[in-house]
Amino acid sequence: MPRRALLLKLLSAAILFGAWEVAGRIPVSYAFPTFIDSMRALLEMFADGTMIAAYAETLKPLAVGIAISAVLGIAIGLWVGLSSVFDWLFSPIFVVMQAAPLAALIPLLVLAYGIGLTSKVLVVCIMAMPVIVLNTSGAVRNTPESLKEMGRSFLASELSIILRIIIPAASPVIFAGLRLGISAGFIGAILAELKITPTGVGDIITFSRSIADYPSMYAAIFSIILLAVLFLNLLEKVETVLFEGNQRGYVSD
């Protein structure tokens, strides 16, 4: 079974990259490079260290933002899900954050927090946190009442009900929220680097575009997507280790 899944994945990757290569060879646009050219540019950038230096820069806001969003997001989400007062207090903030056209609000963030790391971390958090909070709180609120009832009838403390019943029951949706939130965080990190000050991978994208080095531009975009996919796979492994019962076969595995 796993072999077949792997084969299918390789097949779909081959089809996608094949279509990219064909589109680049036609070419659909002079500004669209072939897959092979892009991969060559990617390897060159890794070989001469450009890409590694860029990721050292990009991973700073990304890692800090995602760590804050995950920890704080799940904590706030649990809290909001458990208490109607906090639901009333916090939910609207995150709904607004999720719906806000962030790219248009970036000048406001820059005004308040400058052009440094703080603004970029905030962009990542604003992208990632709402999904995590709203998914977590929804999942907590929807824990089957009968399970909690059972806990109470076994005289479980409030804390054990949360730790042993609510969190495991909510974990599939919490992880779904984490996956969505973290993908949004990757988007946020690049958005910040394109819109605030070009650094890291965002800098490679804008710079290669301005000198019409399109293979490098698409290589940089490809690398960040690849990193996001790898990270989401890792997250899924973490989920299966923590909550074995959640294995239901995800598309991304």
Partner: protein, 323 residues
């Protein structure tokens, strides 16, 4: 309706749309601006109005940056674009050609009074627009000609934002455009800053370009357009106030806030005095200067004397207009 029918219609829609767009493009030329209309584009819109009076039908779209405008022209969604797509012409082999130089790269190194000459900036940090952009290329050429190496380069897009950084004490050296330099040096804070002496630059900052095939298929429209541009640029060189006089009050420039319109005369007077516009539309002189400039700035590869002007410029409309 069956699912097949719906799918069929969905599949046909883009093709039909593309056909209708192709039909529309036959008589209306589509202009890709690299920024939203501002005081700097007033002269261009005056030229457009003159061209319209001579029968040119056009529509314009403002892109958020120059690279997007270039890509829209490369892919054929737009006919004429704004910018200096030398790198795109050479590297992507896109058959783009420049037909008119709109403005020159007139930028000025401005510093706090800590520095008084370009040589003092050796090893010092500098604030520029964007990596690979115009001010970055100026910094590269300064390094080459003056024999210095700047320290860390940081990037803040927009001359006015860099002036704000200077005023806020967050930077000691930057490179800004003519109008912001004038504003700063005429303000009360002028005593705290120096404009450093720099060599003259004849290269283009903004130029008008299009796909070669499109230019050749629309010779007549292109000629009307270039005639109007050249006429406007020559009239402006004699009397900069014609821009304000001829600005259509209902057009995109006429709709700008009153404070900006009130400063149009001053802006164009400074610009003409400062040599921002070439009254002859650039032509061979600008093309040669561009090849040298963009080679030393790293946007073009190869020896500039071996590069062929005809691979980058299409001079026939400008030559005809000059007669």
């Amino acid at each position: 309706m069956s699912i097949l029918k719906i799918l069929g219609r969905v599949a046909i829609a883009p093709a039909a749309l593309a056909l209708s767009m192709a039909a529309a493009s036959a008589d209306t030329i589509r202009i890709a601006l690299a920024e939203t209309p501002s005081d700097e584009l007033a002269a261009f819109f005056v030229a457009l109005d003159r061209a319209r009076a001579n029968g040119l039908d056009y529509e314009w779209t403002a892109f958020s940056d120059e690279e997007l405008a270039i890509q829209a022209v490369i892919s054929g969604q737009m006919d004429i674009g704004f910018g200096t797509p030398y790198a795109a012409m050479q590297r992507s082999k896109a058959p783009l050609r420049i037909i008119f130089q709109l403005s020159k790269l007139k930028f000025f190194p401005v510093t706090t009074t800590k520095y008084s000459a370009l040589e003092d900036l050796d090893g010092e940090p500098i604030l520029l627009h964007s990596r690979g952009g115009g001010t970055d290329s100026i910094a590269n050429v300064i390094e080459e000609r003056v024999g210095i190496t700047f320290g860390e380069r940081s990037y803040v897009p927009g001359s006015s934002n860099r002036v704000a950084a200077l005023l806020g004490g967050r930077a000691d050296a930057t490179i800004i455009d003519l109008s912001n330099k004038n504003k700063l040096m005429r303000s009360e804070a002028a005593g705290d800053f120096n404009v450093l002496e720099m060599f003259d630059v004849e290269a283009s900052d903004e130029a008008l370009f299009a796909n070669l095939n499109w230019i050749q298929e629309n010779e007549e429209d292109v000629q009307i357009f270039v005639d109007a541009l050249l006429g406007t640029w020559q009239d402006m060189a004699e009397d900069p106030t014609i821009i304000r006089q001829e600005t259509d009050p209902d057009g995109p420039i006429g709709q700008l806030p009153q404070e900006i319109l009130a400063e149009l005369d001053g802006f164009y007077k400074d610009a003409v005095e400062g040599g921002l516009y070439d009254a002859n539309g650039g032509g061979r002189k600008a093309a040669q200067a561009d090849l040298e400039w963009y080679s030393s700035a790293g946007q073009l590869e190869g020896d500039p004397s071996e590069l062929n002007i005809e691979d980058f410029w299409y001079l026939a409309p400008l030559d005809a207009a000059m007669k």
